[in-house]
């Protein structure tokens, strides 16, 4: 009985526990296969690649906490990427870059606001709404940049790619800031509202929580984070491509769930999903370094991910058997 409470306690009160175990495990395997993994240059080159997904995942996590889902985030990433690639250009100045970074963030928030408007105020179902807007955004990105090309000055891109202040990858600082901001936000009243709305919207409404506003804001945050992800991936690739964000959407959702947030809303946080995003990427590395037969790679990777998703359930099943 006591034992059971401890496990459930860990799983429900500390949703970060399991994703942390997964991450440690996968990092250990990766380290075994790639001993120089923690060398600064290797670490940095990995983290800079993971960061866009991490940023996207944070926004997705907040929407999921608030009881929604956002499958238009990839589209928003593409829009931001094409804006930067066409407006700043390969020859642009760093002032111009700053200017369009700000504009991109506004555009991301605006795109999120469009989602939020339809979902919170017109009360449309989130999956199908963001599916529809994902066409709007992806189409808009293609409209801005019909053919891949353009980009940002390589000097600016290399700031992102090579900065390692105090011998730590830039991404670590970004993650630290994200965690700090979340630690703050989740303990504000607004943070409680997010959980309340995701938990049971009717009850929250009867308790005088501004439900629609909170739902709306979650999508704005998600749009904003998608814009940050768009900026990051533009800095990483240095170029523009209207389809750049599309494949990222489903990964962000998987990362959030591996990170321990419930699909039904009202539970979880942001730290778990960040770990989840890193774990997903590390798994890819493991596949690379383990030199399995190419034809098996996709199968093995997918199986590992399914196993990771199912692991808590297997443990629970096993525990219940014993009890």
């Amino acid at each position: 009985m006591k034992n059971r409470i401890t496990w459930d306690f860990l799983m429900t009160r500390y949703p970060v526990f399991f994703p942390l175990v997964l991450l440690v495990l996968s990092v250990a395997i990766n380290l075994y296969l790639q001993p120089n993994m923690f060398q600064l240059s290797t670490l940095n080159s990995n983290m800079r690649v993971f960061l866009p997904l991490i940023l996207l995942t944070v926004g997705q996590a907040i929407v999921l906490i608030a009881g929604g889902i956002d499958i238009s985030v990839g589209g928003i990433v593409s829009v931001v990427n094409t804006i930067l690639a066409t407006r700043v250009g390969l020859e642009g100045s760093s002032e111009l870059m700053w200017q369009y970074v700000l504009i991109s963030l506004l555009v991301g928030a605006l795109a999120g606001a469009i989602n939020g408007f339809f979902i919170a105020y017109l009360r449309l179902q989130p999956i199908i709404t963001t599916y529809a807007t994902s066409f709007l955004y992806a189409g808009f990105a293609l409209f801005i940049l019909p053919n891949p090309g353009g980009g940002i000055p390589s000097a600016i891109a290399s700031v992102y790619r090579t900065s390692t202040p105090l011998s730590l990858p830039l991404a670590f600082y970004v993650i630290a800031i994200l965690l700090l901001v979340w630690a703050y936000v989740s303990s504000t009243r607004y943070g409680k509202y997010l959980f309340a709305v995701g938990g049971k919207a009717e009850a929250a409404y009867e308790t005088a929580v501004p439900v629609t506003l909170v739902q709306f804001s979650a999508y704005v945050i998600s749009g904003f984070m998608a814009a940050l992800a768009g900026i990051a991936i533009t800095m990483l690739s240095g170029s523009g491509n209207a389809d750049i964000g599309n494949p990222m959407t489903l990964n962000s959702i998987t990362a959030v769930v591996i990170g321990g947030n419930a699909f039904s809303g009202g539970i979880g946080g942001v730290a778990g999903p960040i770990l989840g995003a890193i774990t997903l990427s590390v798994i890819q590395n493991i596949i690379s370094f383990s030199h399995i037969n190419t034809w098996w790679e996709t199968l093995v990777k997918a199986t590992i991910i399914v196993a990771a998703l199912a692991a808590p359930g297997v443990i629970n099943l096993f525990r219940r058997r014993r009890a």
């Binding site: 429900t12 504000t188 009243r189 409680k192 938990g199 009850a203």
Partner: protein
């Protein structure tokens, strides 16, 4: 602080359903107004009009005789109106403390929730009901893990946490046991003294006469009477509510006690143990109506659910002469068991499905392939009629029903199947007096037909009035069995408190129980 609130000629429609056609209510500080009426008469709707949860279709709200208009629940709340919702307004995933203080959390200088103060203030509130919880409640307990009575208490604490001047208690006592009700009433007296106004909704006449100063009666969405409690009798109130002479006759079957002796035993339980139950032994004969008493959370729910195959247990259960160990309620149903669960929203209903689908859910396999829908409808209609179900039609969603009518659906779905042994977990919770009487006569009739009923109720009167004998649970065991002359309210209460029959140790020494 306002002195009074009045609702005048309130009209409220839900789609085509008129919930209120002419609702009127006055409430002043320092008094308790009982809002009474049959199921579906519009009491909850009236509450939601007053606290701004629904939009008015007509009529007016006056605060100190000035018209007011709520644009959201927020507006009403800001002016000191608090509500205990019949269906509760708690977020299951959040903790007790977070739920109580949602939207009014104590803050620190940097805008975060001050957890320390939050804790202290929650502990303070929780202490108001201390002693009535099964295990002590903690501010950090998540709501999901609580039993329904404790949820109800949290909902009450949540309502009073911001020191409102008007408190609406919409069937706040329906899930509480007598001790908890007692505690609540003591608080209500305090509030009254402190100059608060209270609107009290309940189907228990005894409670109304105990606590209310004035009354207001709704019938079919129209206010048909109001006045001072001291000027009316129970009979008169009932007549106002349901346009019938008193239906208040519990059908005691003392005479039958002997008869049952010869009937075969249909349920025999030996050393039944679960997480809360610590070895239950009893047997029930065919045609008996056996009550289960005790305070809430002593294992009554678990007993009924384990007999129904919903909760795993150890020990032996013999039904109709054979031993069984069900792994799923379906197996229990197949040999003629039926369970009416205590939490109708969570365990008894499919909210967005039609009334027909709800009534027939356990019985579909009996209608062949393809399902004979016409016959299913006829059967459902019959049950509806026999229970006096107030509905717009079988195809309407069950969520459109009032609380009491929804409860009838939960009971009614088993009547379609004609089971042999009924397990009832507080089946009249939230049911109005008229319907209650009908349910009582239905239950006695079922027993006469040879059906057996195991019946838990949080209403002691009900147990005493209806049952052949009552098993009183305390702390997971049957502490006392009461029957015949020993089945009195006094004995029931003392047994509930864990005091053996005949002895009055500890607190009750000075009493005349």
């Amino acid at each position: 602080m306002p002195e009074s609130l009045s609702a005048r000629n309130i009209v409220k429609r839900y789609g085509g359903v008129v919930a209120l056609s002419d609702g009127n209510l006055d409430v002043h500080t320092g008094e308790v107004v009982a809002l009474i009426g049959a199921n579906g008469s519009g009491k909850s709707t009236m509450s939601k009009v007053i606290n701004g949860v629904v939009v008015l279709d007509g009529g007016q709200l006056l605060l100190d005789n000035n018209p007011v208009h709520w644009s959201s629940p927020q507006a009403a709340k800001n002016l000191g109106i608090a509500t205990v919702f019949q269906e509760l307004s708690l977020i299951p995933q959040m903790t007790v403390a977070e739920n109580i203080w949602l939207t009014r959390e104590p803050m620190t200088a940097i805008g975060t929730v001050n957890r320390k103060v939050l804790h202290e203030k929650t502990e303070e509130l929780l202490s108001l009901f201390r002693g009535t919880y099964k295990v002590d409640l903690h501010p950090d307990d998540p709501i999901v893990s609580l039993p329904s009575d404790e949820k109800q208490i949290i909902e009450i604490l949540k309502a009073i946490s911001f020191d409102p001047w008007l408190i609406i208690l919409d069937e706040a006592t329906a899930s509480l046991d007598s001790r908890q009700v007692q505690r609540l009433f003591e608080l209500v007296e305090d509030w009254k003294e402190a100059g608060k106004a209270i609107i009290f909704v309940s189907h228990r006449m005894e409670e109304i006469f105990r606590i209310a100063d004035r009354y207001s009666v709704l019938r079919n969405g129209k206010t048909v009477g109001a006045g001072d409690m001291k000027d009316v009798s129970e009979k008169e109130l009932v007549k106002l509510m349901i346009e019938k002479e008193s239906v208040f006759e519990y059908i005691r079957k003392d005479s039958k006690n002997g008869e049952n002796e010869e009937k075969p035993v249909c349920l025999e339980v030996k050393e039944l143990q679960t997480v809360t139950l610590k070895g239950i032994n009893f047997s029930v004969r065919e045609g008996e109506l056996v009550g289960i008493g005790g305070l809430r959370g002593q294992g009554q729910r678990e007993l009924l659910h384990s007999l129904f195959g919903d909760v795993p247990y150890s020990g032996t259960v013999k039904l109709f002469g054979n031993g069984y160990k069900f792994k799923h309620p379906r197996e229990a149903m197949q040999i003629g068991l039926a369970l009416v669960p205590g939490d109708r929203g969570r365990e008894g209903l499919l909210s967005i499905r039609s009334i027909l689908d709800n009534l027939q859910l356990p019985s579909w396999p009996r209608y062949g392939f393809p399902l004979r829908i016409k016959k299913a409808k006829r059967d459902a209609e019959q049950v509806g009629e026999s229970l006096n179900l107030k509905m717009a039609g079988l195809e309407e969603p069950v969520s459109s029903l009032s609380g009491g009518n929804a409860q009838k659906v939960v009971l009614g779905k088993w009547l379609v199947r004609k089971p042999k042994l009924f397990l009832l977990d507080d089946p009249t919770k939230g049911v109005d007096v008229g319907t209650k009487a009908e349910i009582y006569s239905l239950l006695t009739q079922l027993c006469d037909e040879g059906k057996t009923i195991l019946f838990y109720s949080s209403d002691d009167e009900e147990l005493i009035g209806l049952c052949d004998r009552v098993l009183v649970l305390h702390d997971g065991i049957i502490r006392t069995e009461l029957s015949g002359p020993s089945l009195t309210k006094e004995n029931l209460i003392s047994a509930s408190l864990g005091v053996s029959n005949g002895f009055h140790p500890e607190s009750r020494t000075g009493g005349t129980l």
